[in-house]
């Protein structure tokens, strides 16, 4: 989890079934990005690392932004990731973990009252994301694909 001020940007390399949630306060232009790996911290024993889970990680990021003078009413979110890298993954007990991460992220954001204004989720390829809090541009790069800005 990282916070950033313009003109800096935040990069997360190689999101697979993880989801990268970028939140930005449109008035202060302070932004943050959290990279979650699992949907639910209550399902896991070793859950000390709050940033790892959708339910706790997103909340932590919002609290952090608020502590820096951002206001929840002015926050908007963009999400990317949540792919299914291997075809058989949905047969294991971790049923489509990418989709679960995406869904859990949406639920968490809804619960905090933060709208999702753009997303690039699902499919079967990894993504590298670059978030620019200045204008809220969220750049998504993937192997063999054109760069997409959402």
């Amino acid at each position: 989890m990282n916070i950033c001020y313009p003109p800096d940007t935040i990069t997360t390399i190689g999101l697979g079934s993880c989801v990268g949630i970028a939140i930005r306060d449109v008035t202060t232009k302070v932004g943050g990005l959290v990279h979650i790996m699992l949907p639910d911290s209550t399902m896991v024993k070793s859950n000390q690392n709050l940033a790892k889970f959708a339910d706790t990680g997103i909340k932590e990021l919002v609290l952090k932004l608020e502590s820096l003078g951002c206001s929840r009413q002015h926050m908007v979110a963009k999400i990317a990731g949540g792919a299914q890298m291997f075809a058989f993954q949905n047969k294991t007990e971790l049923t489509g973990i990418g989709a679960q991460n995406t869904e859990a992220s949406k639920v968490a954001l809804r619960g905090l009252g933060i709208p999702i204004i753009a997303e690039d989720v699902g499919a079967n390829y990894g993504r590298t994301v670059i978030f620019n809090p200045e204008n809220g541009a969220y750049e998504v790069r993937a192997v063999g694909k054109d760069i997409r800005t959402i």
């Binding site: 190689g14 790996m37 699992l38 291997f86 075809a87």
Partner: protein
């Protein structure tokens, strides 16, 4: 004994897992040599317990394009095993197996299938030695392959592993011939399986 986890493992237990890694990698090399029908040298495998975020760096950066062959393991122990190679090494391997230079940048379906089979045989040899040493029954699933950024592929075992710990056992095996064929095993047994493996070895 089931209370041994990867986070509280002593050096002695770690050495055991390391040795299994060595033997497994040795058998995998033999299998590879038979399959390619040539002499394949191997360097002493490096076995390390490391955090997930370090693995990408070890493989040449999280954006390094790699081929990952992933199998789920069931039976007496459960978990997953992955064999990863840099794209270039994977191409060298397939080209050796098929006895021709690969055309184009991407793998064809046939080449992907060949690569899957290589992964299957190598991980099979590894699991075989683990099974023989421990007397545990291990059934591997059909392998699945993915070619993408190292970081993205690693997130798959990382997530399965993330539910129990932040570290994993990485075995780097360098197969050498005239070209680089090195690959990495990532072994991800679930929580109880570490205890079971060590227990069956008399610990």
């Amino acid at each position: 004994m089931s209370d041994i986890t990867i986070n509280n493992m002593s050096d002695q237990y770690f050495d055991v897992l390391k040795e299994i890694g060595n033997i497994g990698a040795g058998n995998a090399t033999t299998a590879l040599s038979q399959m390619l029908n040539t002499k394949v040298d191997m360097k002493v495998p490096q076995v390390r317990l490391m955090e997930f975020k370090e693995v990408g760096t070890t493989m040449g950066g999280e954006e390094q394009i790699v081929a990952g062959i992933y199998l789920v393991v069931e039976g007496d122990i459960t978990g997953s095993i992955m064999f990863m190679q840099k794209k270039e090494s994977a191409r060298n391997m397939v080209s050796k197996l098929m006895g021709k230079e690969l055309a184009g940048e991407d793998f064809t379906d046939m080449e992907l299938s060949a690569l899957k089979e290589i992964g299957n045989i190598i991980t099979g040899a590894y699991l075989n030695s683990l099974s023989t040493l421990t007397n545990l029954t291990i059934y591997p699933s059909v392998p699945e392959i993915c070619i993408d950024m190292a970081g993205a592929i690693l997130s798959v075992p990382a997530i399965e592993f993330g539910t129990i710990a932040d570290k994993l056992l990485l075995i780097k095996t360098e197969f050498t011939d005239d070209v680089d064929l090195s690959g990495y095993f990532i072994l991800v047994p679930d929580e109880e399986s570490y205890g079971k493996i060590l227990h069956s070895l008399g610990f």
